[in-house]
């Protein structure tokens, strides 16, 4: 190799190091301190995941997750004693952990399942919602669960817990992995895949927003347990307490229930009744003062 090539390689490696270095300083700061300095609270959520984070008919970015993040926002403003800008940024299962660890967002408020391997990278607030993975198929499809899905093409979202469960426990299902929900659903609509597996509530959301909800069936026993949590950077107990207390208070004073009804009640965007078990579970997470 000539000297020119060596120089190019060195410059390239240097650039990589700089890229990493650029992402690192955010680690050195507590989240509340960072928010106080920047004057902005950046929340990562989805744009196509009703009812948690989505763009509604009036082009507003809204959702259950967004509303919970707004409660955290109010608590931050109260704590810091000043007005803080509330900013939303799009995250996907594949990008949310890098976005949070690199400091580009301060809180993930979307359909993020709490898992042990994720807990090694980020910290979670209390469980704020519970669901399980099911199949979304066209009406009349022979697929009614994991057994009948053997040999079929099944769309999943990259980075989701469902993808992992299907890959590891049901190797005879042909996985087709998409970076986001709209692409996975489009593949189902166009017939590129036979089914789409995601958390039941997200499928309910998709179905509710589809042009003809009656064309779609959510089927199969839940194949997973998906407890959702708000995620933040690791080892920042001050901020973690603030998020946890905000949620506990909301469950305690009925604010949570009000928001739940707004999004998932009978007249909500995505009707998905809160089961008694789930409600008891939520209440038991509220610690005494």
């Amino acid at each position: 190799m000539s000297r020119r090539v060596t120089r190019t390689v060195a410059a390239g490696l240097g650039a990589v190091v700089l890229l990493l270095a650029g992402a690192l300083p955010a680690f050195a700061q507590a989240t509340l301190e960072k928010i106080n300095q920047s004057g902005t609270f950046v929340v990562g959520t989805r744009t196509g995941s009703p009812p948690f984070g989505f763009i509604d008919r009036n082009q507003n970015w809204v959702g259950f997750g967004v509303d919970l993040a707004r409660l955290v926002h109010a608590a931050i403003e109260k704590r810091l004693g000043k007005t803080i800008k509330f900013e939303l940024k799009e995250t996907t299962p594949a990008t949310r952990i890098p976005l949070i660890t690199s400091g580009q967002v301060d809180l993930i408020a979307e359909t993020m399942t709490i898992t042990r391997s994720r807990m090694e990278q980020v910290d979670f607030g209390p469980v704020y919602f519970v669901t399980g993975a099911q199949f979304l198929v066209k009406k009349g499809s022979p697929i009614t669960g994991v057994k009948s899905a053997a040999g079929k093409r099944v769309a999943v979202q990259q980075g989701s817990t469902n993808e992992r469960i299907l890959r590891e426990q049901y190797p005879n299902i042909q996985l087709v992995v998409f970076p986001d929900q709209p692409a996975a659903f489009a593949a189902l609509v166009q017939g590129r895949v036979d089914a789409y597996v995601n958390d039941g509530v997200q499928l309910a959301g998709l179905k509710a927003k589809a042009p003809n909800p009656g064309d779609w069936v959510i089927t199969g026993e839940p194949i997973s347990y998906e407890p959702y949590g708000l995620a933040m950077r690791e080892n920042d107990s001050d901020f973690r307490d603030l998020v946890a207390f905000t949620l506990m208070e909301a469950i305690e004073n009925g604010e949570y229930r009000k928001l739940y009804e707004k999004w998932m009640g009978e007249k909500g965007d995505v009707p998905y009744p809160l089961s008694e078990t789930a409600e008891t579970f939520l209440r038991m997470q509220v610690m005494p003062r």
């Binding site: 190799m1 090539v5 990589v16 660890t101 087709v176 992995v177 692409a183 489009a186 590129r192 690791e234």
Partner: protein
Amino acid sequence: MFRYDFDWSVLWQPPYGEWLLQGILTTLEISALAWVIALVLGCVAGAMRTVPSAVTRTIGAAYVEFFKNVPLLVWMFFWYFGAPQFLPLAVQDWLNRHGVAFVAAVVALGIYHGARFAEVIRAGIQSVPQGQFEAALSTGLGVAEAYRLILIPIALRLIIPPGTNETLNLLKNSSLALTISVAEITFQTRQIEAYTARGFEAITAGTLIYLVLCLVLAGVMSRVEKAVAIPGLIVRGSGPEG
């Protein structure tokens, strides 16, 4: 205070190391196939834009402008979600079962970059002195033969540096195939990130792989350029170093 402990072993631990290798292979396969399509389309459309016939020139220009000016991501979606709809159901079904995403990615990348190659090749043909074309015609060659035997062979030699740039762009743009479920390098780095939550390691690995692939390609092309240079015609490479 926050600290990040790097754990590079996720890059070779099973099955992640294998995923990365598969990703590299897929990227190379898509890129190589798309490159062949792009080069052929580029030569045809590039040549069409330089011929005397106004109709032919317009057709060439229409192809280039239409495909070049729509984002590649849109083309990916079009060839994957849209285009197969126009095929008979049996064909669609067969495609669905036999890697329609891969084919769509190759076609999208090949046709899009064909339009971009066409511009490079057109510039190459136009930079061949007019006398060459006239001399070729005066030896009794037809226009098509003059292009095929004289103009395009010279132009392809002239455009190796900008052509290499386009090739590298094509290689890097192949990463967009992940949006339609093709498991290339970027897809696999994201997959590793999703399984291990080791984003920095995975993305760094992906970055270095693209960097190495591009540098190797550039190195090879620069040798090819020297090897096929026509003495006296191409002055590049005859500077102080050469």
